[in-house]
């Protein structure tokens, strides 16, 4: 299967990449390519230029700072999943990275590629929102809750590149994913993070875009235990219904996954 024709470009800096983008007719950035290339093969996307940012060395790093974990947007999932720093600092994040796709996909796919694509069932958006992350782009900083704006859409402007993500280090956190039995995409995935005086719960794979489950956060604030979610009525309003699961079933699974995550944290 062949993609439509395109012109391949490989800049060595973020600055150069943005300049190439600005001079292109209808360019896309290529990071790990694990969603973009399949989409191009299906002719769902046919850019005129492909700007390969996967070899920009400055985009790939993991660094600990006081209270935060910084991960370069070009860092591949396999690196995050196996990272000693990530395991020490936010183990749930390493677990999440190890649940994305399959091993071959994790060897190529990147953090930046995942969040810029913002697939409604992608795993990383749940981690960014629950961990109150800040995305640094080639132009500015954007809080995670403002970054993910809708199905396959983000706050990134044309040509703007996600450069790094700053994750706030929680007191404890866990990610529980109910994978679609065929595709293994989250259906849903729930990330629970506890900070001093604050509990954040983010849900992916249940609606058009990642969201915070406020009713679950409120219940957990009263008592942090799986049992406190028993009486919570997660609403199917606004959730996705498809051949795999009805909105009602997804609403139910959100609660069950949240309970699994809380159990894992205790």
């Amino acid at each position: 299967m062949y993609t439509a024709e395109f012109h391949y470009l490989r800049p060595s800096t973020v600055d150069e990449a943005e300049k190439l983008f600005a001079a292109s007719a209808d360019a896309r950035y290529l990071a790990g390519g694990q969603s973009l290339i399949p989409a191009m093969k299906q002719r769902l996307d046919s850019p005129s230029e492909l700007i390969d940012i996967s070899r920009i060395a400055s985009l790939s790093f993991i660094r600990k700072t006081p209270g935060a974990l910084m991960i370069g947007a070009g860092t591949r999932h396999a690196i995050v999943a196996a990272s000693r720093e990530v395991h020490d600092c936010i183990p749930a994040l390493a677990v999440l990275a190890g649940l994305i796709g399959d091993p071959a996909v994790r060897h190529r796919g990147t953090l930046g590629g995942s969040i810029a694509n913002n697939d409604p069932a992608a795993d990383y958006p749940a981690a960014l929102v629950a961990l109150d992350a800040v995305v640094t782009t080639s132009r500015r900083k954007v809080a995670a809750e403002q970054f993910f704006t809708g199905m396959f859409s983000t706050a990134l402007e044309s040509g703007e590149i996600a450069v790094e993500v700053e994750f706030r280090v929680p007191r404890r956190a866990a990610y529980a994913k109910f994978p679609n039995p065929a595709s293994r995409y989250a259906m849903p995935g729930v990330f629970v993070a506890e900070f001093p005086g604050e509990i954040r719960v983010a849900v992916t794979g249940a609606a058009a875009c990642v969201f915070r489950a406020q009713e679950i956060e409120t219940a957990l604030k009263q008592q942090f235990a799986p049992g406190s979610l028993a009486a919570v009525d997660t609403t199917p309003d606004g959730l996705t219904s498809d051949i795999f699961a009805s909105a009602e079933y997804r609403a139910h699974l959100i609660k069950v996954m949240a309970q699994h995550a809380v159990s894992a944290m205790l």
């Binding site: 299967m1 062949y2 993609t3 395109f6 391949y8 390519g33 290339i37 399949p38 093969k41």
Partner: protein, 153 residues
Amino acid sequence: MALISLEVNGMPVRAEVEDRTLLVHFLREHLRLTGTHVGCDTSQCGACVVHVNGEAVKSCTMFAVQADGESILTIEGLSQDGKLHPVQAAFQEHHALQCGFCTPGMIMTAVDILARHPHADEATIRSELEGNFCRCTGYLNIIKAIRAAAEAA
């Protein structure tokens, strides 16, 4: 068109490719290394798995130009001096194939699994095989073969 130079199975290769040529088509059609298979062409089945700089990747989900300067290992490069790689030998010994179509990808993935988990147990092998589909064997003998290769190492 792009001029690329890379290493394939230890040999230097220089070639001119269309920008949109997928790595798997470059290997199969330009280099005639047809051991790497195209099963699904939708990045799911893993029949096309090769190693890029020692890591298993799906060669149908990567362009040949992206392999410029990199080192590629395919199923043809696995045996040394006419002797099967221990994972290949284990697949033969444990009858880990029926039609054989998925086998090159299974073996390249298995070698990658054992490089990262030298003493992989059954649960690890099962979860690590998530990106490789076999439609004949029910996976049991594949897992048995990989376990045997892990124990022999």
